[in-house]
Every structure is written in C-alpha cells, then in structure tokens.
C-alpha cells in the first residue's frame, strides 16, 4: 500500500504538518540557510531543512525521500533553535518527511527493527516487557512500583536506562541517590513502556500516540506528585508532548532534581580530584534551556576542576543519538567518515578533562563508542551527572 502519486504524498505530508504546532510557519521560510549551516549533517546532505521546504514547495518530495536526507537528522534542534522564522523543522518538516518513508515501507533497516520491536514489546531492544524492572534486583534496597502505592517522585528510567547494560548503571546510581536522600520514589516497573520521543521524531506518530496512552494509563494507578527522569528525550516528551494527551504532572530532569537537593548533597560530598567537562545534551540544554543546574552541581563537588568545551550551551554539538539516530549509525556511515560523537569526544579531550559528564542517557553509548573509534579510550571517561554525584557521596 505505497503512496500512489506525488500529489498523494504531498497531501499526506501537508496533513501531518497541519497537525504539528506552528506547522504552517513553513510558509514563512526566508530561504536564509541558517538551518543547513547549523546542521551536523549539513555538509553531507542533499537536502538541508531549507532545501526540504523548497522540495515541498516544488512538489519534488520523492526526490527528497530518494536522497535519504530525511534520515540525516539527529533531531538536535540546532536548526529550529536558530531559525529566524521559528519553523518547527525538528518537530515537523523532518518527521513528516520521515513518516512518508515509513508509509512507503522502506526506512533504514536498523531503525525499522527498533520501531517494530517497540510496537510489539514496548522497547526497541526486543526484550521482554517482564524484564524491564530486572535492574531493581541489582541494588541492595527495596524499590516500590507505583501500582503498589502512591509516591512523591515517579522515577522513569526509560528503555536505555532499564535494559542497556551500561545505561543501567546510571539508573542504579540515580536510584541510590534517591535512597540516600530519603526520597519517596517509585517506578512504573513492567507497566512502563517506551516514552516514545524517538518514535515521534522518527515519524512513527501512531506508535508514539499508542505509547503515550499506555504510559498515561500506567501513571494513573496511584497518585504521585512529580516525575524525575534520567532520559533527556523522555524528559522532553513528558514535559512538552504528553500534556497534549491530558497528562499534567511536573517533570524534572535529574540534573534539576540534583540541583534542587544541592544543599543536602553538599553536606554529603567528599572530595573528588577530577578535571571535569560537561556536554550540554540537546534536549536538556538547547531544547529546554537547562544550562545552569548541571554546572552548579558539578562545581559544588569539592576538588573538582570544571572546564568548558569549545562549543557549549545552545551551541553544543549533538552526540548523534537523538530522534532515532542511535539506530541510524550504519546508515549515516554511508555519508560521513566521522560521526558527530567522535568530533565531540575529541573536543572534550582537548580540554584536558579526565571526565566527560553527560546528562542524556543516549550520550553514554554514543560517546563510549566514539572513544573507542578515536582511540581516546582511557584518556577520558564518560559519566552521567548522577554517577559523578554518587561517587562524591559514597
């Protein structure tokens, strides 16, 4: 059931764009090219966001899809952030083109598998939903689930935090911090499904909506006052996308939660002799404007020398993992010799830091892989901000 003609394609595209907030702003595109100049893939793609809008205007979307440009996007939000016309490029122009690829039936294979697994199992890894809470057995204190009773904080580890071997360490570290702080927290456990931000940004809007419905239903089992998550994309989705579906609880990124509890933490801190640099993850920094909270936390640890990278805050370079990018590695390799994550770890190493602190769970596999690719492994270590904090309070 492929889309029969170009006009049908354009119609489907426009219909989707009309459902995206400010979608009609594409008409205000000045063709200034700021987007392409800001894009980590701008140099290799045949269609930068500016040219994508041109392709829509000229009704040559098929050419755009053929080029694969719709998949050369990490949803890093640089283009949208800088766009003088404030066109929703990351949320609209690109995912709507991706949706056409999905309807044509031929997205990049690894991403297709991740999406199909998420539809069936609620996670991209083809793991059993029953194993989603296995990590709780790896900590030496009890963790309750929301189904068992109310809690102050609902902790969302999301898929990588629940299943990925390295990322689980971050989940456990955050749980241990809650425990040490005496926070009344619970998890959704097996009821938690993928929060879905990557699915939305990949153009799988139907799957995203189904995941939202299931997660909201699971959250209704018992009262809680707010969400804390270690996953920057889950954070963004829960905070900015879920409210469209009737969800209305405050959502905190874990760096905000740590900053909020900084006075208590300060009393627990012991000295760490590290030189630390911090990577502003796209959906914490550029997308949601959280620049100070993680820096304040890092600087508060005694002994730590904090150094900044060349590109910081709204200008930080993306790790390449967002918007399904973590499943597009082999696709992107066809276009680029060095991926953004490799460029970014070189930048981090140039500061002379021993630790590269991150605040998005996807940064960890992306950067650890990049350290191996660049030969920098051993020179600089990747740690999530909560792992650094836990080390300081142990």
């Amino acid at each position: 059931m492929e889309l029969e003609s170009e006009s049908e394609m354009l119609e489907t595209y426009m219909e989707r764009l009309s459902e995206i907030q400010d979608g009609e702003k594409y008409k205000q595109c000045l063709q200034c090219g700021t987007c392409g100049g800001s894009c980590p893939y701008g140099i290799v793609t045949k269609f930068t966001p500016r040219k994508m809008i041109l392709a829509v205007r000229a009704n040559i979307i098929d050419e755009l899809l053929e080029s694969g440009a719709q998949w050369l996007c990490t949803s890093c939000y640089s283009c949208s952030f800088r766009c003088p016309s404030q066109i929703p490029l990351t949320d609209g122009i690109i995912p709507a083109a991706r949706e056409l690829s999905l309807l044509e039936g031929n997205p990049p294979e690894e991403l297709a598998r991740a999406l199909m697994n998420t539809a069936r199992y609620g996670n991209p890894f083809k793991e059993s939903p029953k194993k989603r809470d296995r990590w709780v057995k790896e900590v030496d204190f009890e963790i309750k689930t929301l189904a068992d009773g109310p809690a102050d904080v609902l902790f969302i580890p999301e898929c990588f935090g629940a299943y990925h071997r390295r990322c689980k360490e971050v989940t456990k570290a955050m749980a241990e911090i809650f425990n040490r702080l005496g926070t009344d927290f619970a998890i959704l456990g097996r009821d938690e499904k993928c929060i879905g931000d990557s699915n939305r940004l990949s153009g799988e809007f139907g799957l995203f909506e189904e995941l939202v419905e299931k997660n909201i239903k699971a959250m209704e089992k018992n009262p809680f006052s707010r969400i804390v998550t270690i996953d920057a994309h889950a954070f963004h989705s829960l905070r900015s996308e879920y409210p469209r579906f009737g969800f209305s609880k405050p959502v905190l990124h874990h760096s905000e939660f740590l900053a909020e509890n900084l006075e208590t933490l300060k009393e627990m801190f012991s000295e760490l002799e590290y030189i630390v640099t911090y990577h502003d993850s796209c959906y914490v920094g550029r997308r949601n404007g959280i620049y100070d909270a993680p820096r304040d936390v890092i600087r508060a640890i005694p002994g730590v020398e904090f150094v900044e990278m060349k590109r910081i805050k709204e200008n930080a370079l993306c790790c390449g993992g967002g918007g399904g990018g973590v499943w597009l590695d082999s696709f992107i390799k066809e276009f680029m010799k060095e991926r953004p994550a490799e460029e970014r770890v070189r930048e981090a190493a140039n500061t002379g830091a021993d630790i590269l602190v991150t605040s998005c769970i996807l940064d960890i596999p992306m950067f650890e892989d990049a350290l191996k690719m660049t030969g920098l492994e051993g020179q600089i270590v990747v740690k999530d901000i909560c792992e650094l904090v836990l080390e300081a309070i142990r």
Binding site: M1, L102, L103, G105, P107, E109, Y121, S128, K130, G206
Partner: protein, 251 residues
C-alpha cells in the same frame, strides 16, 4: 501469477515459555519470521508480474487471535486475501500439517506456494518438501530470489559452503523461502490498526490427520552453563582468565 504464502504462528521466544513435560506453553505467539519473508517475496512477485497473493495463517485454538495482526500486516503490505485456517487438532508435526494442507490446496490452483524455510517450533524444514510429495509438485528450498520465465520460475538458492545456485522450476511449484529479496517492508502502526479495523479475514478449517509412530516423551531446556563475569583491570582479568583455563584443564 496466483500465489499463496503460508504463515505459521510460533511461540514468541522473547517472552517466557513454560515447558511442562509434553507441553510447551508459550506466553504469546508471533508470526514465524521465515514465513514473513515468504509473504514479502509473494508481494514482491505480485508487484513485479501481477496476479494475486493469498496468505493463509495456520493456527490452533491457542494462537487463533494472535494470527490476526500478522494477517492484517500481510494485507497492509499488499496481499489480496487473508485466510485463517484453524487446525482441527493442535499439531506441530509437519507430516500431519502437510497432508492436511495438500487436501486444502487441491482445488485452489495456485501457481506458486511459498513457505518459510523453517519454523522455530518443529525445526525440521520439512513443510515444503512434504507438501511437495503429497501434492506431487516440484519443490526447491533455501530460495532467496525468484524470477518468472514462461511457465517456470528461475530461483536463486543458497547451497552449502557459501555457494549459490540457480535453478529453473516448472510451475505450479512450492518454494521454501529463506529470505525475501528485500528487507521486510515497514508498516506504520496507525496504518496497521486501520487495516485491522476493516480487514476481512476469511476463516476455514484444516482437518489434521493423525500419523502414529512418533510420540513426545518430554520437552526440556538444556542445563544453563554458569556464566562468570571477570571484572577488574586488564592484567587482573588476564590472570583470572588463566586461572579459569587451568581449572578446566585447557592450560
């Protein structure tokens, strides 16, 4: 070309399965992956040469609901008809399924019957060959691509030792598909749900004969090997590894 693809449901190994002596109790069923490739290849052939694709889903009373999504998926991909065939009694035995299917196919006049090369439940790779015997039609397995040529198909198939071979097969015929020519096409969830809502899935029965001679004694899982993760600095891990090798007598 009038094509039929066979779609079997098998236990979903991602979810838990319970093994009780002579019963395997799966938590969920899923479409057999190789059969999904047979459906894909059938749709590819229809797109290339015209004709029609019927997909038959073989189920028993435990798996009959779970075939509906894979059948709707086949319709969403371009199949024309979806038929749910319920076995009169549950059987994993290919000889029984093949005899029953041969009877079912008698008046259907398919030019090509495609099946996945193997199902993970019986693990014999025998459905195609046995169907070929009962229907007295040619069969070739381990097929990776199919081209139509004047009442025949030229198929590419995998041989042992990494070799490939091309064979000409007279139609009507049965082919065992190892993988379709292209990756399985993607169907967005909204579209699948849409098709599921309005899909007309036909239903029929498959009269399973009984073949005596083989009886299940028991099913069981092999003993799991003990896994020890060696942790520490590389030198430390190397020392531990040498110790471990010495212990099991390789060093």
């Amino acid at each position: 070309m009038k094509i039929c693809a066979i779609l079997r449901t098998v236990p979903d190994l991602v979810e838990e399965i319970e093994v009780i002596d002579d019963e395997i109790e799966p938590f969920a069923y899923i479409a057999n992956e190789r059969d999904e490739h047979a459906v894909e290849e059938a749709v590819i052939l229809k797109e290339r040469y015209g004709g029609s694709v019927d997909v038959i889903g073989i189920v028993d009373e435990d798996s009959e609901e779970e075939i509906e999504e894979p059948l709707a998926m086949a319709l969403a991909k371009g199949a024309d008809r979806a038929i749910k065939l319920t076995m009169s009694n549950k059987s994993y035995r290919r000889i029984e399924q093949a005899k029953a299917l041969a009877e079912y196919f008698k008046d259907k006049d398919y030019d090509l019957i495609l099946t996945g090369i193997q199902g993970i439940d019986a693990f014999t790779g025998m459905l195609g060959p046995m169907l070929s015997v009962y229907m007295e039609l040619p069969f070739t397995g381990y097929v990776t691509s199919v081209e139509a040529e004047d009442g025949t198909v030229k198929v590419q198939k995998e041989l042992g030792g990494g070799l490939l071979g091309e064979f000409r097969v007279k139609l009507p015929a049965i082919l065992g598909i190892v993988s379709a020519e292209k990756p399985l096409r993607f169907v967005p969830l909204a579209k699948l749900r849409q098709v599921m809502k309005k899909a007309e899935i036909e239903e029929d029965e498959l009269e399973i004969p009984e073949f005596e001679g083989v009886q299940v004694v028991k099913y069981y899982e092999p003993e799991k090997p003990e896994i020890v993760l060696l942790e520490g600095e590389p030198e430390e891990v190397a020392d531990k590894l040498i110790e471990a090798f010495k212990e099991i007598g390789v060093l």
